[in-house]
Amino acid sequence: MNLIWLFGAELKRGWILQRRYVVETIALMIGLTLVFCGLLVSTQNLVGPDVQLGDRLDALVVSYVLWSLSLFIMGNIAGELQQEAQTGTLEQLFLSPIRAAQLLIIRALANLAPQLVINLAILILIMAITGNWLSFSLFALPPLITVLLSAYGLSLVLGSLALLFKKVQQVLAVFQFLLFFMLMAPMETWTGPSYLLGWLLPITPSAGLLRNVISYGAPLDWILVLLALLNSALYLGLGLLLFHWAERKAKKYGGLGGY
């Protein structure tokens, strides 16, 4: 019951902050849309004006919105941990009878709905600007869920670093580009050893599956969904393990307080 109440409290906290600081959210949405426009113009410039991007534009849009969603999730776990260490509320969170990893997951889940709404708005803005309207089907849901699980896993890994080292802005900044690569990597077109290696990368297989369904209209291969689920479960498990380890270390070396 406690966890359900906490979910409600997190939902309310998130909603209050979104509503109270709506300008920040709008600025972020516009910023992310403008970055996509810049990316699109640069790509079109590189390939030349005569080349039509077609399905690849769809793939670019899907990957970009997934990247933006993953950034929100990471900001929600690793970013907030770092911010809470900075403002000092982190220690108060650890004074709760609810375990920190549970709290962070519940917080991330409670924030998922507004994040999905924000990212949907970004997607609609991008589709309106490009005039390229994607078609969605319910088959996009399973790979979307595995993308989210992987994003939570990676966020917990980064959260562990934030817990141990506090100042991880540089790592987070570099990781954004790494994440961009992992989400953009066209694994669905790879063959041979690189394709097999791709299954070991975090989030990449799930993003590839989602692109296949939305951008190329391919039918969903449930075996591949299962593999993507295993991949995301692996990274989520790794994130949880690392977080527990980092929590123990932080309590041993006094890393929860101070910045």
Binding site: M1, N2, W5, L6, G8, A9, K12, R13, I16, L17, R20, Y21, T87, G88, T89, E91, Q92, L93, F94, L95, S96, P97, I98, R99, L103, R248, K251, K252, Y253, G254, L256, G257
Partner: protein, 303 residues
């Protein structure tokens, strides 16, 4: 006993050197008791508080809050409230009511109970009119009161207050002192750290002094003050002494400090001195009493 800590030890490695932050620290606080934990900067006060709160794992020793170890049993944290040093305990972008609601649920309460208790606390702390103001816009004193409310929302048995009056103005300090007294009177055990020794002397039933990681003194406040107080008496007159009385008093071994002030260090001579002073008007007779500042400085310097 609400809090028991036994032989807590914590060391850090700094530039290859092992530094003992806390060494064999044992504390016991009963229900309704206020204990002040005093010590110079870096003496180990905050480290001990954090070990008790379960935020820092001790190398050796144990902590029990109502017989539960916060390092092994997460439910022990339900019995604990803490206001850690500085203005770092609240969400500044939320209001006091929203902070109470969030942290109340985080401490395991149902939203309905949190609502009821928030209302009571806001009234009791005289902050109902600021319930919907963002914490960042409140004065430092009000922020501290909100932090104490948040620490009390789940009605803990033990309250840890790390420098609760640091940076507060006189009025806010008095309010916090009054709150500490009230909270203790309702049966909550309180451990507070402070550098303001007069506040500790005023509030605390017990005093523990820590220096270089070791508790060098732990006693009931009045016993400690009595132990360090002398047996001499100060007498203050409303009028100046005449030369004849002055001579007789000096013969009795009385120190004449000024024309109107005497010090009688020989207790046996006190009534003889009073007889000699008769019928001069006496303003004050007081037994000399040490204050906590003198005791603290003496003990820390001796060590």
């Amino acid at each position: 006993m609400i809090l028991e800590s036994h032989k807590l030890k914590k060391s850090y490695r700094d530039k290859g050197r092992l530094i003992s932050a806390v060494h064999d620290v044992s504390l016991r606080i009963a229900a309704g008791e206020v204990a002040a934990f005093l010590g110079p900067n870096g003496a180990g006060k905050t480290t001990t508080i954090k070990i008790i709160a379960g935020l820092l794992r001790p190398d050796e020793g144990w902590v029990r809050i109502c017989d539960r170890n916060p390092h092994k049993n997460q439910s022990a944290l339900k019995l604990l409230g803490a206001v850690l040093e500085g203005n770092r305990n609240l969400y500044w972008r939320l209001t006091p009511a929203e902070n109470l609601e969030y942290f109340g649920v985080l401490r395991g309460l149902s939203p309905r109970i949190v609502q009821q208790r928030s209302h009571v606390l806001l009234e009791r702390f005289n902050l109902a009119h600021k319930a919907q103001t963002i914490v960042g816009a409140l004065s430092r004193g009000m922020q501290q009161k909100v932090a104490i409310m948040v620490a009390l929302i789940h009605q803990p048995r033990l309250l840890l207050l790390d420098e609760p009056t640091l940076g507060l103005d006189v009025e806010a300090t008095e309010e916090v002192k009054q709150l500490v007294r009230e909270i203790a009177s309702q049966g909550c055990a309180i451990l507070l750290t402070t550098h303001q020794l007069a506040i500790a002397e005023e509030l605390a039933d017990r005093i523990a002094i820590i220096n270089q990681g070791k508790v060098i003194m732990e006693q009931a406040t009045h016993d400690l003050i009595r132990q360090f107080s002398g047996s001499a008496y100060q007498i203050e007159l409303e009028v100046s002494l005449d030369p004849a009385r002055r001579l007789k008093l000096e013969n009795l071994g009385t120190d004449i400090e000024t024309e109107t002030k005497l010090r009688v260090s020989n207790l046996a001579a006190l009534y003889q001195v009073l007889a000699l002073l008769k019928p001069l008007p006496v303003l004050r007779i007081q037994k000399e009493e040490a204050n906590l500042t003198d005791i603290f400085l003496k003990l820390v310097r001796e060590q």
